[in-house]
Symmetry: C3
Subunit: 132 residues, 3 copies
């Protein structure tokens, strides 16, 4: 099963919780048990799993920004978004989850986020489930 949807981001760096949307797609699908891959076809956005707490989301963006701070990006002479590429690549363009009884298995505090690192933009999210 393959599905896709779009999301519009609003900030330059932003974490958007897409868990409900993903669970809804998986619940309506025909595959009850298997693996699901959530994939963004972008080099300046990523998929992150963390808790949905306001302070923590701020911490995430600030810590990531610090990793790429005070750096003279060669890529910025080409496009002015070198830091965006590095952070998207570090967090990664996809995450794989287990599907059980028509839902993505998540821990109590786990939520799935689209991580925007070069917004605001329109982003695509792809969902692929394979059954066991």
């Amino acid at each position: 099963m393959f599905k896709e949807f779009e999301i519009s981001t609003e900030e330059h760096y932003q974490l958007i919780n897409i868990t409900d949307k993903l669970q809804d797609i998986v619940r309506k699908g025909k595959i009850k048990n298997g693996l699901v891959s959530i994939f963004v076809p972008h080099t300046t956005a990523a998929v992150l799993v963390t808790e949905d707490e306001t302070g923590l989301k701020q911490d995430w963006l600030k810590i990531l920004e610090r990793i790429v701070s005070n750096f003279d990006f060669a890529h910025n002479r080409c496009d002015n978004n070198g830091a965006s590429h590095i952070l998207a690549g570090l967090v990664g363009p996809s995450k794989t989850f287990i599907v059980r009884d028509n839902g993505i298995i998540l821990g109590t505090w786990q939520q799935i986020f689209l991580a925007e690192f070069d917004g605001p933009r329109k982003r695509e999210i792809f969902i692929k489930i394979v059954s066991d």
Copy 2:
């Protein structure tokens, strides 16, 4: 095939080699060839692949701690484990491996670790194999 097991961690930050346990589960399973996803349903623990060498395991924990050092976590006003969440999210809650002839394919030095970032705690590890 879906399996799960529990592990008790002993330190605040700790790497625990779970390779033998995982290989044992895969060997006893009915799926000979496919993909396996190792998933922890936690936001302050992760799955890491690296060599099992005492010095290297110390290096891992110290380098990770340095990434989140000298930072005033907003999340710490809520729970006192902001750094734990960031490190778990950076390392990631799951890794996907290839299953061949009833075993997980690993390189000579590759071992699979549960990475504890907010222990000691009881942690769950989920294993899902899909066949090709």
Copy 3:
């Protein structure tokens, strides 16, 4: 479907674009739709997704080097490649992609790289596709 190929790296730290080779293997395979895992059986090499732009590739290697700089690696008293292990583990030994119509789905700027962190060496790349 399982396939493997070898690649010879030339530098100590290097990003090598393996997208064309991977797409060629997937196109010639019998599985039209599913998930594909690209896995390197090494602890000092990894799989990275980013844009193929000269400046950006330099930025990647310099930023990663900075994360592990000025650190006294305990592992270096064993093997002199502590930093190589940390960077390989952070970037990760595998990435999972969606296969559709006999090709790996990638965004306009997404390319798949073997990330060498302890070259020059001969490296193996494993490809496993499971169908839906």
